[in-house]
Every structure is written in structure tokens, then in C-alpha cells.
Amino acid sequence: MTELVVVSGKGGTGKTSLVGSLAALSQNKVLVDCDVDAADLHLILQNRVQRKTEFIGGKQAAIIEERCTNCGICPEYCRFDAIKHETHTESATGERYWIDRHACDGCGVCTRHCPEQAIDFREVVSGEWYLSDTPYGPLVHARLGLAQANSGKLVSLLRQQARLMADKRGLELILIDGPPGIGCPVIASLTGASYVLIVTEPSLSALHDMERLLQLTVHFGITTAICINKYDINPALTSRIEEFAEEHKVSIMGRIPFDPAVTKAQLAGTTVVEHHGNGASGSLELLWSNLNKELSETRQ
């Protein structure tokens, strides 16, 4: 089984459109959208949700007002400044303490110091994940609750579900649309994967972000290749990316031209390679043929 993760560091480089096309071109795979706080892949894959499951991310603390004596001990122990204090006319002492659930990190330290056992600490639902059918194969995706934490944990869960699905159905490829950045959900998307494709574009920001992402994949020892999207927007920077790749012995698997058809395909709710008569399509096909060759070599 091969796990191919597509990431970009910077947002807006066209990563999801590219994954959509790879989904249409490849065979025998499970698709995973690991960009759990802004999942978009399903929008171009005509998905039908088959199963919906709640995601329990972690615990959260809440003060039980009737039991709280406003002693003021708990805020001293909270390192996340999550316990707030305010005047409150309805309480006997004219004040009250409450926990800002967006700031609460779920560590549980406050609960152990409360002399009145007035802090409730329990698991909370922080999103849901889905198993969908698409014309391109099964899709595992999720929706992290708004303003919720634990995106890394949800990503790990999606990858685990995708592996189970691939095992069960005898599918050889897991194609992962990764999140932006280099932090917790990205690390969860990459750990233990077989191959990483970085989608970049010829801009100084994208080049900078790609360098940091490459440091991360090298850190984890995962074979990495690059695809330059909209390569014709700035030829000088495209050459710089190519030089950088050569210097770091990373192969360039594809160069996709700027093409308004990429946006048009998205507006039509379909993948670029299925949207007829455009320049990006041929380059995407070439990208997949290069990638596929690489992946079958890593399998051997």
C-alpha cells in the first residue's frame, strides 16, 4: 500500500484542484482530505456521504456555577489564561468565574485544585468525519468543529480509516490532500507516509514556504518531489525553484501552466482533467504518469 501526500506549505497554490485531477487519473485508491478545518476536495468529486461519525477530540473544563464559591484558586493554576473573572449581579458574592472554552486546552489541572469539585471535565464532540462514495473511489473526509482544537488527532483518525478501507477493498494507493502550514495537522498527515508531493508556485512566498516544508519532510525522512503550478507566471522564479530542487536532489514531477480552466472546472464542480479543452490538463496527465512510475518503483 502506498500513501501519497500532497502538501503546499502556503495556501492557494492549487493543491486541491491538483489532487482532484490525480483522483480522476489514478486507479484503485482511497482518497483522504486531511485539510480538516477547511475541507474542499469533496466539492469537486460529486461525493455522497455514506456514513457520518462524531469525533471526540479531547476534554474541556467547565465551572459548575451552583457549586463555585468564587475562591479564585483555579485561575492561578491555568497556564492558558482560560479562566475568566467578571462581576455578576446575580451571584451572592457579586462576581463569577467562567471558562473560555476557546482558550481551554483541556489539560485538567484546574479540576484537581478546585476545593469544591465545582469544575466539570469531560470529553467533547469537536467535529465529525465522513465516509463518502465518489465516482473516483471512496473518500474519507471530516469537518472539524468551528474554533476547535485537536486537528492533528482528527487527521490521524482519517488516515487510519483510509488504511482500513484500502486493506478491506484491496486498494493499493491512498491519495491524501494535506493541510497548509508545517504544524500539527501537517505533521499528522506526513508521519509514516510513503511519498510527499509539494505543490508550489513561482512566488517568493511559495518558495520560502516550500523550503520550510522540505526541511520538515527531510526531518521525517520521507521521499519528496515537487510540482510547480502556474510555472509561467514568473519564469525567473520558476528557474530558482528548479535550481533549488537540483541543489537539494529533489525531482520536479510536473510543471502546470496558468490556465483559467482550472477555476472554471472548480466552478462546474468537476476536476481539471475532465474539463475539456485546456492547457493545464495535458500537464496534469504527464505529472500523474511521472508520479505513478515513481510510486511503483518505491513499492518494489
Partner: protein, 252 residues
């Protein structure tokens, strides 16, 4: 924090740098009785008793202090671990602060928190927030006076905008929308904003010159003076709104 790009455009001269640290446990095995209380207290699975030793996994640690707090033998001390760096300088006449998470680190909010403490002293602070709707974004926007949601009139743009609107409403922050490349897609984004009564503060049509300037690390307003004017108007709109909100609040 994860992918900071502001310096590419403002080209600041950096005058000072600070390391951002988080406290992580160090176990003194001479005093440790391997009771396992620390491991049971840790919600992040960052400390575990394995055989005759206690293993700490620093990248999982959130620095809550729970383990040292519960240790009955006082065998755990907390030591600072560097996870990122803040740079401070001046670029184009603007006070500039940047937070940069070290590559391989998972948790950026402590860097954002430290950054906002340092940078929040001026009259007006403009924060370039990360993408998404989870903890790194919340840390960047919570308690601010106004949030600009930048989107594109495409299905991906609209889907992510709806999530972002849900997030700012959940936290309760005033907000407005800027539609970038406003002519590349369809009218669904505008219709959504109208229906939800969210102000569209500015629309920027696609301009290849802007894309090229951006790719070189140049500013949009340098491309065309019209952009400078619209950006000033954008700022005025928000400043007025924030001022009205503040006076409204103090009268209440």
C-alpha cells in the same frame, strides 16, 4: 508562525530576536518512585513510565504543568524548551514583528501568544493570521477589534469563507469580507454575504500585474495608485467601524 511571509513584502531591518520557549518536564529519577501519577494526569500522552524509567515526549507536551503539579515526590522540574523565535524590526516605516515556529514543532499557539504580547503595544496592530479555523487562527484573532476575511468567488473560497464566518461568529468578533480576484468566479459569494448581512469591504478584480508583483515580493499599491486609494478607503471603513463600536460600548 508556520509559514511567515510578511518579511518578504516589508523587507524589515531586524533589530532584535527572542526565543519562544515552552516549559517541559524533566524527571529526577533519584526521587522518582515510578508511581505513574504524572502519566495518568497528562491529557496529551506526553509522559509515560516505561520499565524503570520515565519517558518524556517533548513535541506532545503542551506545557500545562500538570505532571509536576501531581508528582508526590517533587521529582519533576520544568525546563524551558525553544519552539520558535520572534523577530522585531522596522520595514517601510512600519514596526514589524514576526513569529516563526521551528521546523518539526507541532504547536504554534505559544509563539502567537508571545508575539501578540510583545506587538500589541502600538495604537494599531495589523495581524496576518494563518489559514483555517482551528487553534492557530483562534490564538491570532481572539480579542481583536475587527477581522477581515479574505476570500475568492469560487466554490473553495465560498466554502472556506462560510467556515471562517462561523468561527468569528462563534467567538463574537466584528468582521467584513474582502473578495480577491473578484471577477474570476461567480456571484454566489456576493449573494451569500448579502443574505448573511456581512459587509463586503472591498473587491479586487484579477490583475496579472498584481500577481506578478506579489510573486516578486512587491506591494499591490506600488502597481497602481488606484489600489493605494482603495486600500486607504478599506482602512478608513474599518477604523470608523471600530471607533463606533468602542464609543457604542462605552455609552452602554
Amino acid at each position: 508562525m508556520e509559514e511567515p511571509n510578511g518579511s518578504i513584502f516589508l523587507k524589515p531591518e531586524i533589530r532584535e530576536r527572542f526565543d519562544v520557549t515552552v516549559p517541559v518536564p524533566r524527571v529526577n529519577l533519584e526521587n522518582c518512585t515510578l508511581c505513574g501519577d504524572c502519566s495518568a494526569a497528562c491529557e496529551y500522552h506526553a509522559i509515560a513510565v516505561l520499565g524503570k524509567t520515565v519517558e518524556v515526549f517533548p513535541s506532545l507536551c503542551h506545557g500545562c504543568g500538570g505532571c509536576s503539579d501531581v508528582c508526590p515526590e517533587d521529582a519533576i522540574e520544568e525546563i524551558p524548551r525553544t519552539i520558535g523565535r520572534i523577530s522585531h524590526g522596522t520595514g517601510m516605516g512600519v514596526e514589524f514583528y514576526e513569529g516563526r515556529l521551528n521546523v518539526g514543532e507541532a504547536i504554534s499557539p505559544p509563539v502567537t501568544k508571545a508575539l501578540r504580547k510583545l506587538a500589541g503595544k502600538s495604537d494599531v496592530t495589523v495581524i496576518d493570521a494563518p489559514p483555517g479555523t482551528s487553534c492557530p487562527v483562534i490564538e491570532a484573532i481572539s480579542g481583536t477589534d475587527f477581522v477581515i476575511l479574505v476570500t475568492e468567488p469560487t466554490p473553495f473560497g465560498l466554502n472556506d469563507l462560510k467556515l471562517a464566518v462561523g468561527m468569528v461568529r462563534e467567538i463574537g468578533l466584528p468582521h467584513g469580507v474582502v473578495i480577491n480576484r473578484s471577477d474570476i468566479g461567480d456571484s454566489r459569494t456576493e449573494e451569500y454575504c448579502r443574505k448573511e448581512e456581512i459587509a463586503i469591504l472591498m473587491e479586487i478584480p484579477y490583475d496579472r500585474r498584481v500577481a506578478e508583483a506579489y510573486s516578486r515580493g512587491d506591494m499591490m499599491f506600488a502597481v497602481d495608485s488606484r489600489y493605494e486609494m482603495s486600500l486607504c478607503e478599506l482602512y478608513e471603513q474599518i477604523a470608523t467601524r471600530v471607533h463606533d463600536d468602542r464609543t457604542g460600548r462605552s455609552q452602554r
